[in-house]
Structures are given as C-alpha cells and as structure tokens.
Symmetry: C2
Subunit: 345 residues, 2 copies
Amino acid sequence: MPGQVTLSDVAREAGVSLATASRALNGSANRTVGEDLRRRVHAAAARLRYSPDGIAQAMARGRTTSLGLVVHDIADPYFAAIAAGVAAAADEAGLMLTLASTGRRPGREVEIVTQLERQRARAVILAGGASGDTESDGAVRAALDSFRGVGGAVSVVGEDGLGSNSVVLANREGAADLARALRGLGYRRFAVLGGAGGHTALADRRGGFVDALAGLGCAVPDDLLLDAAPTRDGGHAAMSRLLETGAAGEVEAVFAVTDVMAAGALAAARAAGVRVGEDLGVAGFDGIEALQDVVPGLTTVRLPLARIGAEATRLALRPAAAEPELVPLAGEVVLGASTPGPPGR
Amino acid sequence: MPGQVTLSDVAREAGVSLATASRALNGSANRTVGEDLRRRVHAAAARLRYSPDGIAQAMARGRTTSLGLVVHDIADPYFAAIAAGVAAAADEAGLMLTLASTGRRPGREVEIVTQLERQRARAVILAGGASGDTESDGAVRAALDSFRGVGGAVSVVGEDGLGSNSVVLANREGAADLARALRGLGYRRFAVLGGAGGHTALADRRGGFVDALAGLGCAVPDDLLLDAAPTRDGGHAAMSRLLETGAAGEVEAVFAVTDVMAAGALAAARAAGVRVGEDLGVAGFDGIEALQDVVPGLTTVRLPLARIGAEATRLALRPAAAEPELVPLAGEVVLGASTPGPPGR
DNA sequence: TTGTAGGCGTTATCAG
DNA sequence: CTGATAACGCCTACAA
C-alpha cells in the first residue's frame, strides 16, 4: 500500500541523503541538484509511488496552501457564482479552496475565521460583507485582526472593508440607477421587499433605491417598505403580505433587493393570480443567470459575480503587510419583461 | 502578536509540562488532568491568546479534519445545491470542506484527487459521477484506490459507484417516469437535448426517456436527439439548432437532460418567437429551485439535492475498511406550466 | 553539489 | 495524575 512511503524511503532507495531527495523532488529556493541524482531520485519516487505529505510540508514551511472562502449559503446562486470565480482564481494560483457557510447564523463568521486561523489558511475571503450590527461586525474585525496576526491575508466583498482589502460593490448606486430606469419606464408607485435590518449590502440597495426615488419626487411610503429575509422564501412571504394588504392595489412595481427574493415574489404573485409584467412590475438585484432565461425575464442590476470572486482572490493574495486596497465594482441595469412599464395604458 | 504562541509557552506560563498542557487543552483519549492544573493551563492559554496549530495537530495525529468535495462547476445550481447539503453535514461532523471544481476538464478529477491525497484529506466526495469514458474512469478509479491507500474514504454520487460507496441516482427511472407523464399529457413527438457522449448520468437520462417512449410506441428519430453540452449555453445552442431545422415543426415537446440546459432552451425558444407552453412543451431534470418560480414553471424530475449531499457525506465518513455501501435515491416528476399538453387542441 | 542536523507544534508512549 | 522524550514527515540553514 502506497502512501506510507516517506521521503526517507525514496532517499534510501535512490541512495542519496534526505536533503537531496527533498531538493530534487520539490525545488527549494536554490535549485541545484545534479542532473544524474535528480533523475535517480525521481525514478525512485516513481517506483515507490511516493506521495509527498502536504501536511508535513505545510508544517515545515510554516504556511499552508489553502484559501478560505466564507459565504452565507453556497446554494444561493449569488454566492455560488462568486465562489466559482474564487475557485477558478484559486486554482490558477495553485491553492486549495476551503469553503465554509455561515448558514446566516450570527456569530458563525467569527467561529469560521477562528477555525481557519487554526488551520493556518494562507488567506480568507469574506463574501458576505458586513452585517450592519456594530457589535457583531466588531467581533468579525477582531477575528480578522487575529488571523492577520498569524500571517494570514484577508479580503472582503462589500461596502465596508472592515479594515481589509475589499471589493467595494456599488449597491447604492446600482439601486439608484434601477430606480431611475423604472421611473423612466413610467412607474410611479413602488414597494420594496427587504433590506431592513439586514446586511449592509442589502440595506444600501434599499436606501439607494428609495433615496433616488425620493429625489424624483415619488417617495415610498413606509408601509410599502417590507421587511424580508434575503431568501426565496423571504421574498415570497413579503410579496404575499403585500398582496394581502389593501395597499397592494396602488403599487405598480416591486423592487426585491436580491434576485432570489424576486423569484420568490414572482411565485407569490403568480399564486395570487397577479400577472407579473402586465399587472405588476417586479425587479431584483444581482443578475443571477438562471433567472434571466425565463418568462418574464427579470429586470435587475447585474453584478459581475465571477469577476468579484476573481478580484477578491487577487486581493486576498496580496502581501499581508500592504495597505488595504479597495476595488470598486459596479452593476448594470438590465431591463426585462418583468417591468414592461406600468399597466394602465 | 498572538498566534506565535505555542503550546510550550502555555505550559511554561502555567508551570506544567508540555504533555499536561496538551492533555488539558485538547482532551486526549485517557482524559485525566487534575482539576486545578486544568484550570491553570486554561487560564494561561487564555492569557496568552493561545491558538492551537491545526497543521501540527494533524501531523501529530496523523489525520486531517478536512473533507474534499469535487464538482464540475460550483456555479451550476445542481452542484451548488449538493454542495450545500455536503457543507451542512460536514459542519455537523466538525470537518472543514475543501471544494474543488473540474471545470469539466477531462483528467482534472484525477489531479484533484491526487492533490487531496497529498493533503491527506480524510475523505473525498465525487459529485460528478462517472464520465462514461472507460479509460478516464479507470484513471479516476486508480486515483481513488491510491487515496484509500493512505487511509482516505470515498463516496461518489452517480449511477456507477466506481467501486466506492455511492449515492445511486435513479436517472433512468426518473426520465422514464417523465416520458410517461408527458405521454399521458398527450405529447407524441419529442426531441431530446443532450446526453450523447456526456457523463453517464446524463446518458442514462436520455436513454431512460427514449426507451420508455419507444415502449409507448413513439420512438424518437435520431435527428431529434441533439447533442449538447450540459450547460445553459449548451441547451441554448441545441434548441437553436433544432428550431432552425425543418424537423422542429413537428416536435411537440423537448426534453433537456438538465434544468440548466432547459433554461437555455427556454431562452432560445423565446428568442425565436416560440412560446413555451403554448407552442412547445419543454421539460428538464434536476428540480433546480430557482427555475420553479418563474413562468412557465419548468416541468422536471425533482431530485432531493440537499439530501444527496448529506448522504454522500455520511457515506464518505464511514469506516474506510467496510464494504462499499450503495444508497439509492429517486427523483419525482413535477409537472409545470412549461408542458400544459400539446398545442393543437 | 551533497550531506548533517536541528526544528516546526502536537500527540502519544512510557515511565515515575 | 504528571512529566520526560520520542516520533510525525519534511525543509533548510550550516557545514563539508
């Protein structure tokens, strides 16, 4: 059974010292091993089916080859798309990706970062951004500082860098652009699903949307700002609630702060006999691929998801010492059949 | 700067031996450390902000705490959903998840498994199943055997266990059920997108669908069995091709072997002015959540994706020695608005 | 260029 | 119950 084969075995088999075998197999800094010996060692390694022990190497070198990625829910297409970008970049950099999900449980990020610190991950990417809760964010910040303390690098995706390298998403601006676009289509009475008390990113979207609208002279009344969990079910529930209240009758379009929520809203509307597009406009945010290909095509603000992951990875791999770098990334409004314009004429 | 703090430091600070400190902090098998000393050690550890080095522990213990998961593309909702199930189960088992994507590049699975073997991952889950290519599958099998050689456990999701524990999906049966359901709706002329030469799982779906149809007296002509990549774009391209040929006119319903492909097909149909549902039925396979909430709701065979991940994890954590275990898991036909029944009356 | 030897941070074996 | 002291598998000055 192979695997139990150690470098010493290879060295012995090749008739060289442990050091030489090590240098021949993995090129150390000063690359210099006699071509003949080098050959002998490789042959011996192959013959014995030697497989270097990554753990031992990590320990000897004092650093791992793994990159930690923290998301809220990998099944959420938003995070899945970002993860794909990170995975590709990590692969290219020769790093293994360690994925951890918070399941949106508060406090989990800290636990995960701590765990990653224990495992001496080389870097960690926080894809979820800040939570908006001062105390909680402070704890995360502390955990990240501690992680840096052991030589780890950090990057976060979100508005607030939490003192780290970060990919700054134009959530406010994107939502404002969307608001203007919808207003341009003729919509005047809006409702917003989600963003209250949630993560900063979502709060920013809602804020950007509402503020821009106010600037255009059509404020959104408080009772049409519905709280909702950032999930498909959250969107569904909020839309259902909206439809049950009398207020719904006057609403011409609904903005769900994420596409996934918008999908839930779509289902709720359909279940209530409301035709999305004809009777009511619905827009989301994120630009999830899968939701673009159906009828009605969802109006949204498309974010360069894979790019976000790639940039976050690049930032996470920068020399730990350097000053935090911020990379701004914007979204683009995509008008779909879900918002053809207001119903009455 | 914390992190550089080692167990020896803690031991010294607490005035005990290294061994005792180790036993006090992490309970070894024979748990017995005087309550007073135990307290002293913990206090010292806290004071010094000691953080155990996972790498060193792994090396000393001779085993890691990480579980490898190999998927083709984490951005694909099918794999994302399975990954979510695995992530939850891994978390519960106290393991870290190492995610690797093949990007559908042939040969990548072997490289990844080898890499995972180097890192001494405790177990690995192959979510992609067999490729259908004998040579390639043989290489994967060999890599897995080697992995087991170093004490690793394995489980694979798919029809063919590749000699390992496996979650056996009823792809054939599910597709056959779907065929019967569509036939029951009145559809008689079908086209199939994908499954040719692809992974075994997809080939089985196509085979199950076509065979069942043949049994019902309506064989699918070869020119209506279109080859397609198992992606959104693959589905789009295949549908476009179908629509361009004259044969399309006679087709009443299209079966894409994955929901993601079906989404692409939907887009292609719409682009060509074909109304899905009214003019043409479209069905997929997988039961991707996001695709269920739109109009027309996609007819599909819903797989218990999260469950698949959970089971695969359970299998991967079984004692490595045991005989391979097979867990069959079936899908359920879900009829949506995308296949209301054939057009002409 | 090649070999020797010390060390990385823990766990585990075996005496006290 | 506690404490020395070997491993663990590999890297790397330092020496030859």
